[in-house]
Each structure stands twice: as structure tokens, then as C-alpha cells.
């Protein structure tokens, strides 16, 4: 009994950060997917064919945006709880893009409530929804780009300047993330919209897919140049074989999505889009693991005390499946509630 306790005491600090890194990675991934199609609709808002289509686009996500955004809150809150050092280093470094993202999310979020209540100022809420979504998507891209490039850290504190997040790399990431979100939201509309809007969404998806494919190629070359460790990770002989499914599957998914658009399939484009995001995300994880503040701080160095991580895990293990369950139920019940069910 004593022996096994000792083993636990040694294993937990190794094991728990891995578990929490996985849970947070899942939360951020779900946000990127759900928040992605959600923000993408806002990006497409200004170029939608008609005002009627804008109504339908917004209506298709009205019941879900709050839940989608909660994954972002879990990402932030979970990072503070599981990796306080990473949270305390990254957020000051990303001060300006984080707040611009939040303000974008505020403006687009209230637009869901206000747009339909206003006739005279509807254009203003259209602007808030589109502008807020575009700013939030771009800032999320900048944040990811800056995160991959890494931060200046001294004595467990951010020690760089207020604009360190701004670089050619992060600007390109921002545009890449924006086009990825547009791809997802086009897939969303293809599943849910009426025929005319759907046809328009196929066209959007095609352009977005070309952009996404180009950006994936660019990042596959650029990221290894940023840190020699990343190049080693991918291109050392053994790893090259082990990780080769990631780029190969990505290429397959891009082709699958292209054919899905050509064949006017209803669900395939969104699902292929999810797969592309998943693979890019996996690629990023392969590049960065085990660093949470590349290239200095690992998940073990940034981890909260085992007692804190364990305390949260007791709750997270039963709660996450329940959350996923009622979220799925809500999507199921309200799936086609967009056009007909004004609730009063």
C-alpha cells in the first residue's frame, strides 16, 4: 500500500500535465471548430447574397453561439487552473490581441440579440456582427501565430515588448485562420441553408479551400524554419515515416472536400473541413509538444500543483461527457429550428 502510494506520488506529476494538456487541447479544438464556423458566418456576412440570407445565416447559429463560446472560456479558465505559469506568461505577451479579440466577440455576440430588434440601425448591428467576427478571427490567428513563434521569458515572467506578437508569420497565420473559418462556415451553410444560399456556399467553399490548401503548404515549410527543433521533429529519418500520415491524410482530405463540392454533397464538405482542421491541429501538436510556451517552458514546468490538477480532474472526468451529451442534444433538437421557430 505504501509502495503504491509512493509510485502514485512520482507518477502523478508526470501523468497529470499530459492529461490536462489533452483536455485543454480538446477544448481549444472544439472551440476552433464550433467558434470557427460561427465566426466564419460573420466574416461572410457582408458578402452574403441578400439581407434575407443574412437573416437565415444568423438564425442558423443563434441557439448555439453561447455554447460554442463557452469552450473558449474553458480554454482560458482551464489554462489558468492547469498551467498557471503558461497563462501568466502568455496573456501579458498577447495583451492587445486578446482584448481586441474579446471586444470583437462582445460586439458580434450582442448583435445576435440586437440585430432583429432594430430596423433603423440594423446596418449598425450587421457591421458589429461582421466586424466583430472578422476582428475576433484575425486576432485568434495572430495569437496562434505568436504562440508558435514563442515569447521572451525571464524569471517566469513575460519580458518582451507590447507588440512582440506582431510579425510576418503571425499576420499570415491570421489570414490563414480566417480562411479556415470561412471554409467551415461554408460547410455549415451547405448543410443547413436553402437551395440558393447553398449554391452560393459551394462557391465560397471552393475559394476558401484553395486558400486553405495554399496556407497549409506555406506553414508546412515555414514553421520548421522558425525553430530547428521543429525541423528535427518532422524530418529526422524515423519520424519522417511515423508522422507521414499527417500530411498525406491532409492532402486526401483536401481532395475529398474538393470532390464533395463538385458533387454537391450536403454533409461531406463540413466533415472533410473538420478533418482538415484536426490534421492541422495534430501537425501543430507534433511540432510543439511538449512545449506550452515554445521554446522554453514545457507542460511539466508550467503545470499547476498535482493536488490542484487532480482536484479538477475528479470533476472534469464525469462532467465533460455530460456536457458533450447535452450539447449534442441541443444541436439535435434545434438542428432545423432556424427558419420556423421564433419562440414566441
Amino acid at each position: 500500500m505504501i509502495a503504491s502510494n509512493l509510485d502514485m506520488a512520482q507518477l502523478l506529476p508526470i501523468f497529470l500535465p499530459l492529461v490536462w494538456a489533452s483536455i485543454l487541447a480538446l477544448a481549444v479544438f472544439l472551440y476552433v471548430l464550433l467558434g470557427g464556423y460561427d465566426l466564419g458566418l460573420g466574416v461572410l456576412f457582408p458578402i452574403a447574397p441578400s439581407d434575407r440570407d443574412r437573416d437565415a445565416m444568423m438564425a442558423s447559429v443563434s441557439p448555439f453561439w453561447d455554447g460554442n463560446e463557452t469552450w473558449l472560456v474553458l480554454g482560458g479558465g482551464g489554462l489558468l487552473a492547469a498551467f498557471p505559469l503558461a497563462y501568466a506568461t502568455m496573456l501579458p505577451a498577447l495583451y492587445i490581441p486578446i482584448f481586441l479579440m474579446l471586444m470583437g466577440l462582445i460586439l458580434r455576440g450582442v448583435a445576435f440579440e440586437f440585430r432583429f430588434k432594430s430596423s433603423r440601425y440594423r446596418w449598425g448591428w450587421d457591421l458589429a456582427f461582421a466586424g466583430g467576427s472578422i476582428v475576433a478571427a484575425l486576432m485568434q490567428g495572430l495569437i496562434i501565430g505568436a504562440f508558435v513563434r514563442g515569447f521572451t521569458v525571464e524569471n517566469n515572467q513575460f519580458a518582451g515588448g507590447p507588440f512582440d506578437w506582431l510579425s510576418a508569420f503571425s499576420i499570415v497565420t491570421a489570414v490563414a485562420v480566417l480562411s479556415g473559418y470561412v471554409l467551415l462556415s461554408a460547410g455549415w451553410l451547405i448543410m443547413k441553408a436553402d437551395e440558393a444560399l447553398r449554391e452560393w456556399a459551394y462557391g465560397v467553399a471552393r475559394y476558401a479551400l484553395i486558400a486553405v490548401a495554399v496556407f497549409i503548404a506555406v506553414f508546412s515549410l515555414w514553421t520548421p524554419l522558425l525553430h530547428p527543433e521543429i525541423a528535427d521533429r518532422w524530418f529526422s529519418p524515423g519520424n519522417l515515416v511515423m508522422f507521414s500520415p499527417v500530411p498525406l491524410l491532409t492532402a486526401a482530405a483536401v481532395i475529398g472536400l474538393w470532390r464533395g463540392i463538385a458533387k454537391r454533397q450536403r454533409f461531406a464538405p463540413f466533415l472533410w473541413g473538420i478533418l482538415i482542421f484536426m490534421l492541422c491541429y495534430t501537425g501543430l501538436a507534433v511540432s510543439l509538444f511538449p512545449y506550452i510556451i515554445p521554446p522554453d517552458i514545457t507542460i511539466w514546468e508550467a503545470a499547476a500543483a498535482p493536488k490542484s490538477q487532480l482536484f479538477m480532474l475528479y470533476g472534469a472526468i464525469p462532467l465533460l461527457p455530460i456536457i458533450l451529451g447535452y450539447t449534442a442534444y441541443s444541436y439535435y433538437v434545434l438542428w432545423d429550428a432556424t427558419e420556423h421557430d421564433t419562440y414566441h
Partner: protein, 462 residues
């Protein structure tokens, strides 16, 4: 020029502004969600259309308020890192899990069932819709539980150790969550939220009766609000008193600031009005009742009350904001009790719905709960300075390594963005209130044109 800006002061202003803005909405939606549960239960039980009318009307007001609470709440979960990274680094082991539990047990619950509550009325069985409404209300209450636990722990920390690098580690989770001030702060805040909602609902009900519109709805609203206020307002005074005794034990400097007591003495007076002067360390223009201060704070006429001078100058809060905010909060508390009792007496006399001066007083009182909540939080938060974790971590040591210029920019942006959405939110809520319940056809799709033109925002038709 930007290098001279003080990031600490600006971060404090920004946090105060963003959290004050945020708390307005939970203060309202915690009570409103619970009331919507009661209305829906009454409708299911009695089948009376009036409860359905009122609930369908207020659900729209709830949707706007809840949405504004959500978007302003997301900001809070990032501000601990952007502006208070040293608090996060050193206190993350303790407050991080509490905030994460709030997300896992409350935010997802609210968000997951809000969609069904707002959009699912015609799509799910009545029982499922009622369940969704209950889950949203439960979510708001659980959210209050965790956030007040975290805040109370920062006010009265226990159950932790500090390592050689100044990082806090939890020794006992039970002691952390149920820290000494938590039971008082939690009940005080939940009661405050219920009272805030009751005064909004009762005030609007009174206004309908005065305007002779939706009178039957107005009567139900005023009656239900009053039947809460009449016992909860006096109970709140007692909870507040117990909270005060607890604060005197754990944060005596805060009590000294609230009461503007500079000297430690027995039989201390109750200062009704004064200008606490930090230069001379005394009160100007003081109006006080002898001995009452000791009685209120210790429940003994000759109890000893510590003054601010008994604390080292670097450990004292500035008394001006706690002193005045406290008087605003307590004054509103007594006003609530008076309005509750007067209303109950008029009700018993059968004159509640016809006494115009009373209806007018209630109608004008609709925002007093919000003012009291904000004033109360200013007492709690300014009064615990200079500590962010009481006697453990100073606010000045908790701030992020971010230049003042960055904070100034985001603060100004918050003024603009929150100004716009607050103005719009109030405007659209006022529009809904003016339109009133029961005047909209209850069923959708009455065949009026193209359905996709119809709005489905929870707030309703343009």
C-alpha cells in the same frame, strides 16, 4: 509619455470598470431565471394563460440581459492573465480550479440549455422545456457559488501553504471553498440578486398598473415581487449584519474604513456622515450617534472597535469609497424594507393596486437593487485593499508586466464598446417593457409572409 502611465492604477480602473459592468447582468439574471422557473411551474400547474404571457415576455428580457452577461463575462476569464498575471502565477493553484469548476458546472449548463429554453418551446415536450428552464436557473446559482467562493477565499484565505518562490499550494480544498466569509458573502449576494430582480419586476408591474396597460399582468408581477420583498428585504439586513460581524473578525481594517473610525475605542459612535480626511487622519463635518457604532458592530454598547490608526499606513484601505458606498447600500436596504412593509400593509387593506403614490414609488425604485449591489461590491473590493489575497499578496505585486499605454488603450476601448452595448441593451429592453406582455400573438407562424424573414433572435420581432 506612455512610460509615465501607471499600469497598476490603470489595471485597477479597468478591472473595476469591466467587473462592475459585468455584475449588473448576473445580479439581474440570477433572480430572473429563478422567477421564470416559478412562472413556468405555475403555468404548468394551473394552466392559466397569464403566467405563460408573462413568462414569454420576460424570457426576451432575460435573453438580452443574459447575452450581455455572457459577453462581458468572457472578458473576466482572461483579465486575470492579461492584467493580473502575478496573481495567476502565484494563486493559480487555488483560484484556477474554482473558476474552472464554474465553467464546467455552470457556464456549460446555462449555455447548453439556453438554446432549448429560448428556441425550443415548440420543439420539445413541455416537461423538457421546463427542465431546460430549471437547468439555466440552476446554472446561474452554481455560477454564483463558485465565483463567490473564489472571491471570498481572496478576502479570507485559508487552507493553503506558500512555497519558497511565493507560489500558493492548496492544503485542504474544503477549507478553501468553504472559507470563513463564503457562507455570508454567498447568501448576501444571492439575496441581493433576488431583491434586484424583484424590484425590477415589481417596478415595471406598478408602472403597467399606473399606465392602465396590461393591468392584470402588472398585478401579478407586483404581487409576486412584493411577496418576495416583504420577507427577503428584512432577512437581507440580518444576513448583512452577520456578514459584517464576520468581516470585523477577519478584515478589521475594512470595518474601520466603512465606519470611518480612526481611533480604537470602546463605545464608538456610529458615524452617519463625514468626510474621512486621510491627510489629517480624522473626519471632517462628522455627524455621529454616540455608542451606536459599537452596538452595531459588536452587539454591545461598550464593545471595542479598532480604528484605522491601529493598522500600519501601508496596510490601510482608503476609507472614502467604502464609507460612502456602504451608506448608499444600507440606505437602499432600509428603503427596500420600507417599500416591502408598506406594500404588504396596503395589500392587506385591499388598496395595493389603487394607491397611486405607492405605485409611483415602486415604479421609480426599479433600479435600486443594481445600485445597492454595485455599492456593496465597492465596499468589499476597495475595503480589502491594499491586498488582492488578504494579508498574502498585495494588489501592487499582482499586476502584469504590461506597459501602462497598452492598458490605457484597452480601457478607453472598453469605455466605447461597453457604452454602445449598454445604451443599446437598455434601449431594447425599454422597448420590450413598453410593448408589454400578452399583446403579441402567442403562436409563431401565423402565416404572415416568408418565415425566413422572421427573426429568431430570442428577443423577438423587430
Amino acid at each position: 509619455m506612455f512610460s509615465e502611465l501607471d499600469p497598476l492604477l490603470l489595471s485597477r480602473i479597468q478591472f473595476a470598470f469591466t467587473i462592475s459592468f459585468h455584475i449588473i447582468f448576473p445580479s439581474f439574471t440570477i433572480g430572473l431565471a429563478a422567477w421564470l422557473v416559478v412562472l413556468e411551474a405555475l403555468w404548468l400547474k394551473t394552466g392559466k394563460q397569464i403566467y405563460a404571457d408573462i413568462s414569454r415576455h420576460w424570457i426576451k428580457i432575460f435573453a438580452i440581459s443574459f447575452g450581455m452577461g455572457v459577453v462581458s463575462g468572457v472578458v473576466m476569464s482572461y483579465e486575470f492573465g492579461t492584467n493580473w498575471s502575478e496573481l495567476s502565477r502565484r494563486g493559480g493553484n487555488v483560484i484556477g480550479p474554482l473558476l474552472s469548476y464554474e465553467v464546467l458546472t455552470a457556464f456549460f449548463l446555462e449555455a447548453g440549455f439556453l438554446g432549448i429554453m429560448l428556441f425550443g418551446r415548440e420543439r420539445v415536450p413541455k416537461a423538457v422545456h421546463f427542465f431546460a428552464t430549471c437547468m439555466v436557473a440552476l446554472g446561474t446559482a452554481i455560477s454564483a457559488f463558485w465565483i463567490l467562493s473564489a472571491n471570498s477565499w481572496m478576502q479570507t484565505p485559508q487552507g493553503f501553504t506558500v512555497d519558497s518562490e511565493g507560489v500558493l499550494h492548496v492544503a485542504d480544498w474544503w477549507q478553501v471553498i468553504f472559507n470563513p466569509s463564503f457562507p455570508y458573502r454567498f447568501t448576501h449576494m444571492v439575496a441581493a440578486a433576488y431583491l434586484t430582480t424583484a424590484f425590477v419586476v415589481g417596478g415595471i408591474g406598478a408602472w403597467y398598473i399606473l399606465r392602465d396597460r396590461c393591468v392584470s399582468h402588472g398585478r401579478v408581477m407586483l404581487g409576486m415581487a412584493l411577496s418576495l420583498i416583504v420577507w427577503l428585504a428584512p432577512l437581507q439586513l440580518m444576513i448583512g449584519d452577520m456578514h459584517g460581524l464576520n468581516t470585523r473578525e477577519y478584515q478589521p481594517a475594512k470595518i474601520a474604513a466603512i465606519e470611518a473610525h480612526w481611533e480604537t475605542r470602546r463605545g464608538a459612535p456610529l458615524v452617519l456622515f463625514a468626510w474621512p480626511d486621510t491627510e489629517t487622519q480624522s473626519n471632517l463635518y462628522e455627524i455621529a450617534i454616540p455608542k451606536l457604532g459599537s452596538f452595531v458592530l459588536t452587539h454591545e454598547w461598550d464593545g471595542e472597535v479598532r480604528g484605522l490608526k491601529s493598522f500600519p499606513p501601508e496596510d490601510r484601505p482608503n476609507p472614502i469609497i467604502p464609507f460612502f458606498s456602504f451608506r448608499i447600500m444600507v440606505g437602499i436596504g432600509f428603503l427596500m424594507i420600507a417599500l416591502g412593509i408598506t406594500g404588504a400593509v396596503l395589500w392587506l387593506m385591499g388598496r395595493l393596486y389603487t394607491t397611486r403614490w405607492y405605485l409611483q414609488a415602486m415604479a421609480w425604485s426599479f433600479p435600486i437593487g443594481f445600485i445597492a449591489v454595485l455599492a456593496g461590491w465597492f465596499v468589499a473590493e476597495v475595503g480589502r485593499q491594499p491586498w488582492v489575497v488578504y494579508n498574502v499578496l498585495r494588489t501592487a505585486d499582482a499586476v502584469s508586466p504590461v506597459p501602462g499605454g497598452s492598458v490605457l488603450i484597452t480601457l478607453l476601448l472598453f469605455f466605447v464598446v461597453y457604452g454602445i452595448i449598454f445604451g443599446a441593451g437598455i434601449y431594447y429592453i425599454a422597448q420590450l417593457v413598453r410593448r408589454g406582455p400578452g399583446e403579441i400573438p402567442p403562436l409563431p407562424d401565423a402565416g404572415e409572409g416568408d418565415p425566413s424573414r422572421r427573426p429568431i433572435a430570442a428577443g423577438g420581432a423587430p
